[in-house]
Amino acid sequence: MKETEKHILIVGAGPAGIEAAEHLSDLGYQISIVEKDEAIGGKLNNWHQLFPDHRPAKEVLSHLVNKLPKNVKFYLNSTVTKTIKEENLFNVEINGKTKIQCDSILLTVGFDVFDARIKEEYGYGIYDNVVTSADLEHIFNQNNKILTTQGKIPKKIAFINCVGSRDEKVGNLYCSSVCCVTGVKQAIEAKQMAPDAEVFMFYMDIRMYGRFYEDLYLEAQEKYHVQFIRGRLSEVAELQDGSLLLKADDTLAGCPIKVHADLVVLLIGFVPAASCNSLSKMLNIECAKDGFFAPCDVHIDRNSTGTEGIYMAGACTGPKNLEASLADARSAALKIHYHLVHGKATNLINELS
C-alpha cells in the first residue's frame, strides 16, 4: 500500500494538529481532522500577542493555516463518538453518524484553561474587574487598549500568578509552565497601553525557563517598573466604587499586605481538556495522575500511547508553550510515518516486548 492510500485521523485542530497535518500530508498521507469548535486554530485564535517577542498571534496562526494542503478534510463542530479497531484499521464514528476508516489516529486535543471561579476567594465571575489572562488577551484583541468594566483606564493593575496551578487546594499540583511569562508579557503590554498605571505581580516563583524569557522579565522590571511581590493572594474584595482590595502575603518582607487595584488579572493555568477523560476510556489510553494523557515513556517516547496506531502530541500530554507543541507535533508525525511505513508499531512498549 502506498502512503497516499493511507489515512490518518487527527483529533483537534489547534496548532499541534495543524502542524502534524501539514507534515503528514507532505509525507503523502490522506488527512482528516475532527475539531470540536467551529474554527481551526484552537486557543491561538483568542491570543493577541505571543511571548517573548510580542509577535501577533494571528501572524503565526495564518502561517500555520496557509501551509495546510487543500486536500485535508475537516470535520468542524465535531467529536469522535465511537472507535473500533479491527486489525490495523480504526473504524471511527463522528458525531454519532459519519463513519470513516483510518490507519492511525493522532490526538492533539490540547488543554482547557483553569476555571478561575473555582478559586472563589478571588471573586472571578462575582467582582466586575477580576479577569483572567485569557480574558485580557480578548480585551487586547477587541480594543487594543486596557480598560476596566467601567470603561476607565486602570491606575493600578495586579497580576496573580499560579491560579489553578501548583495549588493543592484545587488538586492541581503541577506548574503550567507558561503563566509566568504570559503574565510578564501582559504586564508589559498593560504598561504600554496605560503608561501611568502601577502594575504589580504576585508570584511564588518566577519560572522563566525559555529562551529570552529572562530578558522579558528584566525588561518588565527595569523599563516598565512592574513591581514583583513574592507571595500568594489570599482574597479579593470589591469596594463601593468597583475597585478591588487585595489581601496577600509579602513573604520577602515577612508581612501581610493590602493592595488596592482597579483591575485584577488571574494568570490561569492549564487543565486537561474535557475530552481527555472520554477519549482515554474510548481508546483505552492511560491518563497520568494530573489528568493529562500519559505518554508511553516520558523521556524517550512521548508521542506513543499504549495502543498501537494511536499517537498524541501537544498540550494534551501536559502544559507546553507553542514552540514545544509544534515540535511535539512534528515528532509525532514522524512516529506515525515510521509506524505506517514499517507496518508495525515502533513504540517503546512493543520494542521492549
Partner: protein, 356 residues
C-alpha cells in the same frame, strides 16, 4: 458586583436540613452572653412553625473550646461527643441541631474523622461504654440552628410583623452578616452557600427585606479566636481583629450586624464599647455604635416579640436605634425588669458610646 456569580456559588453549596423532630444541643456561651436567644429559637420552632424540638437537660458542653485551646485531647472530646449522640439516640431523635457554631464544627469534624478512621469511632464507642455503659447512633442529619431557621426563612418572613426596612424611608436596612469561622471554613459543603460566600444569614436577611453588605473584611474573624481572647495577654489581638472589621464595614454605613455563632455577637458587641473607651472611636450612626443581633434575635424581632422578652437589653450597644428604624415599639420602663416585672437594676452607662 455580579449577583448571578454569587447565586451560582450558592447553588453549588446546598445542604440537607431535616424538616422536623430535632434534638437541640444548647451552647455554653450563648446561654450566658445572650440568654434570650435560645429561648427565642425554641419559641419560633415550636410555637410558630409547629416543629418538635427536644431540649435535653442532660447534655453537656461539647468541650470544643477546650479542644481548640489544647486543654483536652482528641479522645476526650470524641467521648463527650459520643455521649451527646447517645442522649439523642436514647430520646429517639436522629436530627442533631447544635446552637453553637464551634460545636457544629466539632460534630462535623468528628463525624468526618470517624468516616475516614473507623478505628477512632470504635475507640470512642469503647470509651463511652466503659465510662457510662451508653451506646449511640450517629445523627442522620446534622444542621446548625441557623441552618434550620434558614430552611424556614420564608415561612417565618410570611408570619413576620416587621421587615428589615427603614419605616421612614422605605429603604432596605443595610445588613452585615458575620458567619462563625467553624461553620463552613473546614468543610465548605457542610454550610449553606459554602465558605467564601455563605448564604445562611444573607438569605435570612434577604427574606426579611434587608440588603446584605459585602465589605472587604467580611471573612475576618470576629476577634474571639479562642487563644487570642482566652489567653489574657493576647487580648490586644482580639480587639485589633474586631477593630479591623469595624473599620472596614464603617464606610458601608451598616444598620445592623447579624451573626450565627454565639461568640461573634458578644465580641462584635462588647468590643465596640472597648474600642470607644480605648481610642474614642465610635462606629455606626449618631454615636450609638452598630447594633449586633444573633440570628434567633433577628427572627424573634421580625416576628414581633417584645425586645426585652428576647433579651436585647443584654446588649452593650443599644438596640433602640435599630428598633426605631424598623418601627418596632418598645417600653423603656420594662427594659430592665424581669419576667415578673421586678426592676433588676441598670448597667453602668458608658462614657462615650451613647446608651439608651
Amino acid at each position: 458586583m455580579i449577583l448571578e456569580g454569587k447565586k451560582r456559588v450558592w447553588n453549588e453549596y446546598q445542604k440537607e436540613i431535616a424538616d422536623d423532630k430535632y434534638f437541640y444541643a444548647r451552647s455554653c456561651i450563648r446561654q450566658n452572653f445572650f440568654p434570650g436567644a435560645e429561648k427565642t429559637f425554641l419559641q419560633i420552632m415550636r410555637n410558630e412553625l409547629g416543629k418538635e424540638v427536644y431540649d435535653d437537660p442532660k447534655h453537656t458542653t461539647c468541650t470544643g473550646i477546650a479542644y481548640h485551646t489544647d486543654i483536652i485531647p482528641l479522645e476526650t472530646i470524641m467521648t463527650v461527643v459520643a455521649r451527646q449522640f447517645s442522649l439523642m439516640s436514647e430520646s429517639g431523635y436522629e436530627n442533631y441541631v447544635p446552637s453553637c457554631i464551634t460545636s457544629f464544627g466539632i460534630y462535623t469534624e468528628i463525624l468526618e474523622l470517624w468516616e475516614h478512621n473507623p478505628e477512632l469511632e470504635e475507640k470512642a464507642r469503647d470509651f463511652l461504654y466503659k465510662s457510662t455503659k451508653r451506646e449511640f447512633k450517629k445523627p442522620k442529619n446534622l444542621a446548625h440552628a441557623s441552618d434550620v431557621i434558614f430552611k424556614f426563612r420564608n415561612e417565618i418572613a410570611q408570619k413576620a410583623k416587621h421587615r428589615l426596612v427603614n419605616c421612614n424611608t422605605g429603604e432596605p436596612l443595610r445588613v452585615i452578616e458575620h458567619i462563625g469561622c467553624h461553620y463552613a471554613r473546614m468543610f465548605p459543603h457542610k454550610g449553606v452557600g459554602g465558605a467564601e460566600y455563605p448564604y445562611v444569614l444573607a438569605g435570612l436577611a434577604e427574606s426579611f427585606g434587608g440588603e446584605v453588605v459585602d465589605y472587604p473584611e467580611r471573612r475576618t474573624c470576629c476577634g474571639f479566636g479562642f487563644r487570642q481572647y482566652l489567653v489574657q495577654a493576647n487580648r490586644g489581638y482580639s480587639v485589633a481583629c474586631s477593630k479591623r472589621k469595624f473599620e472596614s464595614m464603617a464606610p458601608f454605613n451598616p444598620d445592623v450586624i447579624i451573626t450565627n455563632c454565639p461568640g461573634c455577637p458578644y465580641f462584635l458587641d462588647r468590643w465596640q464599647y472597648v474600642i470607644s473607651e480605648m481610642e474614642g472611636k465610635i462606629y455606626g450612626q449618631n454615636g450609638h455604635g452598630i447594633p449586633v443581633l444573633t440570628f434567633e434575635e433577628l427572627a424573634g424581632l421580625m416576628m414581633g416579640y417584645n425586645p426585652w422578652d428576647i433579651g436585647l437589653q443584654m446588649h452593650q450597644i443599644s438596640i433602640e436605634p435599630l428598633l426605631d428604624k424598623i418601627g418596632i415599639e418598645y417600653n423603656m420602663h420594662n427594659k430592665y425588669c424581669d419576667a415578673e416585672g421586678n426592676f433588676m437594676g441598670k448597667p453602668e452607662i458608658p462614657e462615650l458610646v451613647k446608651f439608651y
